[in-house]
């Protein structure tokens, strides 16, 4: 790809004004447009465009053609791959070249790489829609924009030659110059008609160039820029899902570290103390020491109980092993307010189970802390592909989903699974928390 085409510095040649003007806006004031730098910028853009476009066309055609032919051998697939990713550097060049006629830079649509090295680069880029849009742009560049640009530049070239005919005639006289075949022009004055036609052609080339450049800017924005709304939302959703997954993995890790580390150490400690106590009880003079050891063992047991509660809060193993119904039943058993559980659900996808579980625990915690409820009911079932969970308490109501970080966090988690969380809590009660989540997770 050639970068030899001359490029004016866009920052310097921009018309002074509060807001940057696009090329399509500029031609709405025709006279001012003709007198400005705009025609020159458009011509420079189109000229460099067809200088780049044709080599690109040839390279693409070769890569794709050979790729298809050699696909059976295997190397052809590499060529096809090369054709696709060749759009990426071309896209970068084109975005840079666009600044010639477009005051607002087109941002790079590519996401950051998931890893280092060429393999990671290729994997990430091939998964992106931006790469494929750039490939489409590369395919358009030669046949469409290159050809149209060539037409405009040819018109301009002929027009300029016509404008210059009086000079040419004067310079090469006494030879005859023929503007129209068969009708020789005898002197510079006679050639002035040609100059008029040439000037008209130049003006036409300026407007045609501006329109074409404007069309190319629009196409480039569409194909080379980020899809502002959908892409950004998709990327945001993905990054949120990644965050939650990472968070969940971290919880698991902490739970496992505690289980394999501190919990086992404490069990071993209380076992050793138990053995020591047994030995000491056999010695009549050592009852004091035996009592102390027994006390130490009691303290170790309390520490173990606290640690167990903590670990369960981080990640309940029973949820992993036995599923939502068993885990919720377990929480209900420990709850200070009587809880009835009516859960008729099979094993579900893990994110669904985890989200549903934390919804119930959060609702139960809120009921215990704030509501003054005397009864809580947890009802859940799966209908079609949808898990519906309702936690109702008979408390005083007035829960505000916006106020507590707990409920807002839950709403986020549920939303990520494309589900919804509805909290109904009129003052005076009852408070009712309803979650609907697609089971596929």
């Amino acid at each position: 790809m050639s970068r030899s085409a001359p490029l004016p510095e866009p920052a310097d040649s921009e018309p002074a004004g509060p807001a940057p003007v696009t090329v399509l806006a500029a031609i709405r004031r025709p006279l001012r447009f003709l007198g400005s730098w705009w025609p020159w910028r458009c011509w420079a853009y189109l000229g460099s465009g067809f200088l780049i476009g044709y080599p690109v066309l040839v390279v693409l055609a070769l890569l794709v053609g050979l790729g298809v032919v050699l696909a059976l051998v295997g190397i052809g697939l590499l060529l096809l791959l090369g054709a696709v990713v060749a759009g990426v550097p071309l896209g970068a060049l084109e975005r840079w070249r666009l600044r010639c006629v477009e005051p607002e830079p087109v941002p790079d649509p590519h996401t950051s790489l998931a890893g280092a090295g060429p393999a990671a680069w290729l994997r990430t880029r091939l998964r992106e829609r931006a790469t494929w849009r750039e490939f489409a742009y590369a395919a358009l560049l030669g046949p469409a924009f290159g050809a149209a640009g060539f037409a405009v530049m040819t018109l301009l070239a002929f027009s300029l030659i016509l404008v210059a005919t009086p000079g040419i005639v004067w310079a090469i006289a006494p030879d005859h110059v023929m503007l129209i075949p068969g009708r020789p022009v005898s002197g510079p004055l006679e050639a002035l008609g040609g100059t008029a036609v040439g000037l008209a052609g130049t003006v036409l080339a300026a407007y045609a160039g501006a329109l074409l450049a404007g069309a190319q800017v629009k196409t480039a924005r569409l194909l080379l820029g980020p899809r502002t709304e959908t892409d950004r939302i998709l990327e945001l959703t993905r990054s949120r899902v990644r965050l939650v997954d990472a968070f969940e993995a971290e919880r698991r890790r902490i739970e496992r570290d505690l289980h394999d580390g501190a919990q086992q150490q404490l069990v071993a400690l209380s076992m050793t103390l138990g053995l020591a106590e047994l030995e000491l009880r056999g010695i009549p003079q050592a009852t004091g020491a035996a009592d102390l050891v027994a006390r130490g063992r009691g303290e170790a047991r309390v520490a173990l109980e606290q640690l167990r509660d903590l670990v369960r809060g981080i990640h309940p193993q029973v949820l992993t092993d036995h599923g939502l119904a068993a885990a919720v039943a377990e929480v209900a058993l420990r709850h200070p307010v009587p809880v009835t559980v009516d859960l008729d659900v099979p094993r579900l996808a893990e994110p669904v189970e985890v989200t549903a579980y934390f919804t119930v625990t959060e609702a139960l915690a809120n009921a215990a802390k704030h509501s003054g409820a005397s009864r809580v009911a947890v009802v859940g079932k799966v209908e079609g592909d949808r898990l519906t969970l309702t936690v109702t308490d008979d408390g005083r109501g007035g829960a505000d989903p916006g106020a507590g970080a707990g409920l807002a966090g839950l709403a986020d988690r549920v939303a990520m699974l494309k589900g919804r969380l509805v909290v109904s809590s009129p003052v005076g009660g009852p408070t009712r928390l309803r979650v609907e989540v697609p089971c596929s997770g």
Partner: protein, 220 residues
């Protein structure tokens, strides 16, 4: 003396438990670190009883418990004592559902610190009785809706049932509650009546606990 096989993936606890069991006068035939090894060791050495952890490799979920269930399916008379870090009743329920001739135990790991009680529980399991950790039973009994049979029990009867579930016999129970053995028998028969348990059936203590646990299962 019991010939035992011990399964526990933590090296620290495996060593500690082996020492404890040996000091308790038992012989540890094999101390293994995974559920697979446990099954193999039991098949090879035919122990008097098995002591196993719940969470074990390779998945670190309930492999130990599953191995225990598998062993029981092969030999229903094999006494199994499960040690767990979790109070979760779902595990105890899973273990006790389909309880058969051999003794069963579900104890929290903390319990090993109470060496005498732990060794006693193991002995009871080896003798074919059922022992459930008092903490698990306490959680089970702490919250009962009114329509459950257990709700009909008086607080004293619940206390008696809790201790029965822990594997105590009438004599030990009487001593613990400072009442006569006759009073224990009276409480027990009242409990069995309220839970609609046939007095002529065998291991009624186990059945009483099972009745409760299966009620829990139905709820879950």
């Amino acid at each position: 003396m019991l010939r035992l096989i011990l399964a526990e993936d933590s090296v620290l606890l495996r060593a500690g438990l082996t020492e404890l069991l040996t000091r308790g006068g038992h012989q540890v035939l094999a101390a293994v670190g995974s559920a697979e090894e446990l099954v193999r060791a039991v098949e090879a050495q035919r122990p008097d009883a098995v002591v196993t952890d719940v969470r074990m490799p390779p998945g670190f979920r309930d492999e130990g418990l599953r191995a225990a269930l598998e062993l029981r399916a092969q030999d229903p008379s094999l006494p199994v004592l499960v040690l767990s870090q979790y109070v979760a009743t779902a595990y105890a329920t899973q273990l006790l559902t389909g309880a058969s001739a051999g003794g069963l135990g579900y104890l929290l790991k903390d319990r090993v610190g109470e060496v005498a009680e732990f060794l006693d529980a193991l002995r009871q399991v080896a003798e074919g009785r059922t022992v459930i950790d008092p903490e698990v039973v306490r959680v089970l009994l702490s919250r009962q809706s009114e329509d459950r049979p257990l709700a009909r029990l008086t607080p004293r009867e619940r206390e008696v049932l809790t201790l029965m579930a822990s594997g105590l016999n009438n004599q030990a129970l009487a001593a613990r509650l400072f009442i006569t053995e006759a009073a224990v028998v009276k409480h027990a028969s009242s409990i069995f009546m309220k839970l609609d348990l046939d007095a002529t059936e065998g291991n009624r203590r186990v059945l009483a606990v099972l009745a409760h646990l299966s009620g829990q299962e139905a709820e879950a």
